[in-house]
């Protein structure tokens, strides 16, 4: 039977999910040069907040169609609680330190947040199945897909396009680029670098949280949810080129399609297809696909 349709659709849906989950990571790295492990925690936080909030919303019998807004709102709010706390409270004192040391710090934070989540929500799973089925479904290649998946695709396009527009089209974006290029110089020129970092970190983490909250209706939200997202997003972002938004998009599409092809045609390799892609790409493009060329140093 012809599988091409499903293969592509599955690939795209997965790519969309990957992109939303990963793009915040590349943004934060691009601006702050932080490999942020707490990204996974924010994904989990978003999932828990989304699941519990939307769950409560629906339980009260409020209009189910608005549950999507609730998902979004929950992700935004939970990030606004935790992200500034982490950035202002701890990270900003650490920027002087080595890239790897900061990575370890975020790893420590990740461990702490794992248990924080457990203390807030307990270990029992949360569900909000309704939003997933609510929008009905469409058919491709004789297979049924819940329309909800298109929301993920839409979110991916919006967040990707939005970022591109902010970075290229707006004054803030241009300022941001100068910060990226040379924080010291920008500081000297009176740019409030600290605020840029705060906003970037919050915004990047928010994207992870949104990815989490919009994944919540399709999964059961359980402890350890965020762990795999970390490495997965790293893979995507590195394939695309750390710090590059279009790179993250390309990386997500490559990984997504690679996975769906392997699932449909050779399930046995699914387990390491992603890391193989990553290794191969790095082997030929040491700094990822959309890497900024290394500056001459003499």
């Amino acid at each position: 039977m012809d599988q091409i349709g499903p293969v592509v659709v599955d690939g795209i849906i997965y790519s969309a999910w990957l992109f939303i989950a990963a793009v915040g990571l590349t943004l934060i790295y691009g601006v702050m040069k932080i490999v942020n492990v707490t990204h996974g925690s924010f994904y989990a936080l978003g999932a828990y907040a989304g699941a519990s909030a939307a769950g409560a919303w629906l339980a009260r019998g409020y209009p189910p169609m608005l549950s999507y807004a609730v998902l979004l709102l929950a992700a935004v709010l939970v990030t606004l609680v935790f992200a500034p706390l982490i950035e202002r409270g701890l990270l900003r004192f650490m920027y002087a330190k080595d890239e790897v040391v900061i990575l370890l710090i975020t790893y420590a934070l990740f461990l702490i947040l794992e248990d924080t989540i457990k203390l807030i929500w307990g270990v029992d799973p949360y569900f909000v199945a309704q939003p997933y089925a609510l929008l009905g479904s469409f058919e491709i290649g004789g297979l049924r897909y819940p329309t909800y998946n298109l929301i993920l695709v839409g979110l991916a396009l919006v967040s990707g396009g939005g970022l591109a527009w902010i970075l290229r089209g707006t004054r803030v974006g241009k300022l941001l680029l100068t910060v990226i290029h040379d924080p010291e110089m920008s500081r000297a020129m009176g740019v409030n670098v600290g605020r840029f970092y705060l906003v970037t970190f919050t915004f990047g983490s928010m994207l992870a949280a949104i990815a989490g909250s919009f994944t919540a209706p399709t999964v059961s939200v359980v402890p350890g949810l965020g762990v795999d997202v970390i490495v997965l997003s790293f893979a995507v972002v590195v394939i695309g080129g750390l710090g590059s938004v279009p790179g993250a998009a390309l990386g997500a599409v490559i990984v997504g399609l690679a996975r769906s092809v392997s699932v449909h045609y050779m399930p046995q390799v699914e387990l390491f297809v992603i890391y193989s892609v990553m290794a191969v790409v790095l082997a030929f493009r040491p700094r990822g696909l959309f890497s900024l060329v290394e500056p001459r140093r003499i």
Partner: protein, 268 residues
């Protein structure tokens, strides 16, 4: 006098910018050659191509009759062609003395011998020198008047001293040809001559052929035996300093230029 280093029909373009257009130059043994030219005229590119950091699009670099165009920087270095940098390339976390010892250690390493730093055991002589690392280090630092900074961390040194150390390090390798990329840039006018004096004296004593990039025409006419004037990737004048500096084109395109930081030249 015999030619030690020669560029033959060298071309190099960076996109639209012509960094080198049919460069032909033969450098004689024991000569002191000054490179002048406006910013981005191709002086640093010339040096980078000789030391293998950049490969020419066409043409070749020849050292003692041997084509070294394809060699990697370290291989060229091992042949005795050393260079200094516009922005000094030092070991930032180490002291002046340790910088020198590290440089000498690399000589031992290249020669496949061990034991520098662990002075108690490093009695054997550094290749090319007739003494162990510690002694050679003292000597070189002495010669460049760097002893007073011996144990200072290189990051906290004044610019002139950093420049000197950057040049002094090359002596560890017993260079036969030394390329100095703007040795006096960012150094006050009164210091300039002192530093150049010191460097040239040392190099003369070592019998080193020197090529240096310089913006200050007084410095050039004072120290260079021969001057190559670059403009837009080409050599527009080549000869004795007074002749070249008298050349109308040079007066127009080179000397007329204000000094200062070279915008298009790459940075460390």
């Amino acid at each position: 006098m015999s030619t030690i280093l020669a560029a033959r029909g060298v071309n190099k373009n960076f996109g639209a910018i012509t960094a080198a257009a049919d460069i032909n130059a033969a450098i004689e043994l024991d000569s002191v050659v000054g490179l002048i030219g406006a910013n981005g005229a191709g002086k640093t590119t010339f040096i980078n191509m000789i030391t293998g950091y950049i490969k020419p699009d066409s043409g070749g670099i020849h050292y003692e009759g041997r084509d070294i165009t394809a060699l990697a920087p370290r291989e060229i270095t091992r042949l005795g062609i050393l260079r200094s940098f516009q922005i000094p390339q030092l070991y930032g976390s180490l002291s002046v003395h340790e910088n020198m010892l590290t440089a000498l250690g690399i000589m031992l390493h290249n020669a496949g011998r061990g034991g520098f730093f662990s002075l108690s055991r490093a009695r054997q002589n550094v290749p090319g020198h007739d003494a162990p690392a510690e002694e050679v280090a003292e000597r070189i630092l002495e010669r460049f008047g760097l002893m007073e900074y011996r144990n200072r961390n290189t990051q906290v040194l004044p610019g002139g001293v950093r420049k000197l150390l950057d040049i002094a390090l090359t002596l560890a390798a017993r260079p036969r040809v030394l390329l100095l990329d703007e040795p006096t840039s960012g150094i006050s006018a009164e210091e300039k001559f002192g530093i150049m004096e010191m460097v040239m004296k040392a190099m003369k004593a070592e019998g080193v052929t020197v090529i240096f990039v310089e913006h200050d025409m007084e410095v050039v006419s004072r120290f260079a035996g021969r001057v190559l004037a670059f403009y837009d990737g080409r050599i527009i004048a080549d000869g004795r300093p007074d002749a070249v500096l008298g050349d109308p084109d040079v007066r127009r395109y080179v000397v007329g230029e204000p000094h200062g930081q070279d915008e298009r030249a790459p940075r460390a």
